[in-house]
Amino acid sequence: MSATTSPTPVSSIPGRAKDRATSEALGRSRARADAIVRVLCTGATVLGLFFLASILLTLLIRGAGGISLSVFTEVTRPPGSHGGLLNPIIGSLIQVFLATIVGTPIGMLVGTYLAEYAGESRFGQLVRFVSDVLLSAPSILIGLFVYQILVLPFGGFSGWAGIVALAIIVIPVVVRTTEDMLRLIPNTLREAVIGLGAPKWKMIVLVCWRAAVSGIITGILLAVARVAGETAPLLFTSLGNLNWSLNLSQPMSSLPITIYSYAGSPYEDWITLAWTGALIITLGVLGLNVLARSVLRARK
């Protein structure tokens, strides 16, 4: 009787105590699981950064020593005779530049079609889908395709074939960014321009494109960065040329192809040149990516 008058402390009730012990244990195991996952995920990020750092450091250690003026002024020579990378560098610049000139307008028009004309139409969705697939399609297949339509019928590897292959890779990159950037433009702007009596094409070219220009430039920079490092499609199209040649109807030298053949060669000085070329191209590509980001950020 007297036991009921004095209230029992909660902890002394046997069942409750057990509950709390389990719930504390449960809390601890939940906290432990959380801690383990946090450590693992942080570790995963460190691992990802480690890979990037390892690649960059390797390129610097093996490639920086080979950088000298002669790399940029001498053409490729047989092993042992101190050649440079002038013709691959010029060849890459020409092919990437012309591929961008060819691919960009087409990509912009397709992106404009998707953003301004297509709406939710079947054709528009199909084009968007196909363009997305082309964006991730294996680039080696683009090379094989151009080999089939240009190299075989016209009797030989050529700079032009390389340019066409790279241009096909440029198009979907520009399509994607153009469409995305045009979609960000508020409709009120379009209505205002149309309301002033301007025709639709003027509205697109003079207002929408101008408003989206930094985004479109970002897309072009990313496309240039992408094709500058492409190797596989050039194997079947412009092939590479150990001699100095600016003739676009002939096989044409390029940095990635030269890196590929030099890195696989048994000659020490060629391998060093391959690393130097790899350093140049990686710095160029990563620089373009950083530039593209800053262009986009400047607008926001």
Binding site: G48, P138, L144, F145, I259
Partner: protein, 326 residues
């Protein structure tokens, strides 16, 4: 702009029909250019499929359906089969995903939930820069840096431990060359890692804040919020991102060509040399003359690669698209 538009509208009232006519032609031309370019993209994809198929036709004719399953590859006797490269392509790509997906998830989780605010931008950018490194650079790095480490340290260690186990042991036996299917899968994993991580991060960021806040309010840990709120919400898109990574891994060429060891036979061990469709095409293309059966076999391989990667990429886009609509 305003200066051009204003006089036009002021004049327009009486002279409207003529200006409308002029702008109508401009509109027609511009719309036609846009449509034609859009159609060109479709034609391009169609032409790639048709050309690769036509190029491969002699090989399909010569070997029939057995081309796909046959593991013979004998240029001397002009016998070609796609079995070995298809096996290598699918094996390395799947293995690469097994290695890459957990790490990519970790990075995405870290970037969306764990990292302090100031760290998210720079770390995210660094991971995305990893995706921008050209394929051939991964190949050189793999060949000159990873392969020696694999041969001297990692492979001997695995052969001595896992290789001794009963069932799965046979997958990890043989001499430690450094090159081979396993190394190729590892390099592929590093290459697709940033694509998968970036897609996962983007879809995780789309989960409405209130869902997460209510779970936190009930006392959930971050891991519980991820596992019970974020992942179920984004499941479809996460799978889409993984498929996107798979599509990349299937067609990757230069990096794999450097490290796969290039052998046209199926070895029981993952450490053995092999081939993928992309690597065999890149390596043997130079030795196949125009019009030869070998060239046709390589184009037929290209066609098969296109079919496989098209299916994977289409599925990936479809899964990622459903997120945007839902």
């Amino acid at each position: 702009m305003a200066q051009v538009a204003v006089p036009e509208t002021l004049e327009v009232a009486p002279a409207r029909p003529t200006t409308r006519k002029g702008s109508g032609t401009g509109d027609t031309i511009f719309a036609f250019l846009c449509r034609a370019s859009a159609a060109l993209v479709l034609v391009l994809l169609g032409a790639i499929i048709v050309e690769l198929f036509l190029g491969g036709l002699p090989a399909f004719r010569a070997f029939g359906a057995a081309f796909i399953s046959s593991t013979d590859w004998d240029p001397v006797q002009e016998i070609y089969g796609a079995g070995v490269p298809i096996y290598g392509t699918i094996l390395t790509a799947i293995l690469a995903l097994l290695l890459a997906v957990p790490v990519a998830f970790g990075i995405a989780f870290f970037l969306t939930e764990l990292a302090p605010e100031w760290m998210r931008g720079p770390v995210g950018t660094a991971i995305e820069l990893l995706a921008a490194v050209p394929s051939i650079i991964f190949g050189m790095w793999g060949f000159f840096v990873i392969v020696p480490v694999m041969a001297s340290t990692i492979q001997p260690a695995i052969i001595d431990t896992v290789g001794e186990l009963p069932l799965i042991g046979s997958l990890f036996q043989g001499p430690p060359f450094g090159t081979g299917l396993f190394t190729a899968a590892l390099i592929l994993a590093i290459m697709v890692l940033p694509f998968i991580a970036a897609t996962m991060r983007d879809v995780f960021l789309q989960v409405p804040g209130v869902y997460k806040e209510s779970a936190y309010g009930l006392g959930s840990t971050r891991w519980e919020v991820m596992r019970k709120v974020v992942l179920p919400y984004t499941r479809v898109s996460v799978v889409g991102g993984i498929m996107l990574g798979l599509g990349r891994a299937l067609g990757e060429t230069m990096a794999v060509t450097f490290v796969i060891g290039n052998a046209n036979r199926i070895t029981p061990s993952l450490f053995g040399p092999g081939n993928t469709i992309a690597s065999i095409v890149a390596l043997e293309f130079g030795e196949s003359g125009a019009g030869s059966l070998k060239l046709s076999a390589l184009l037929a391989l290209g066609f098969l690669l296109f079919v496989i990667s098209f299916a994977v990429l289409a599925l990936s886009r479809w899964l990622l698209r459903s997120r945007l609509k839902g």
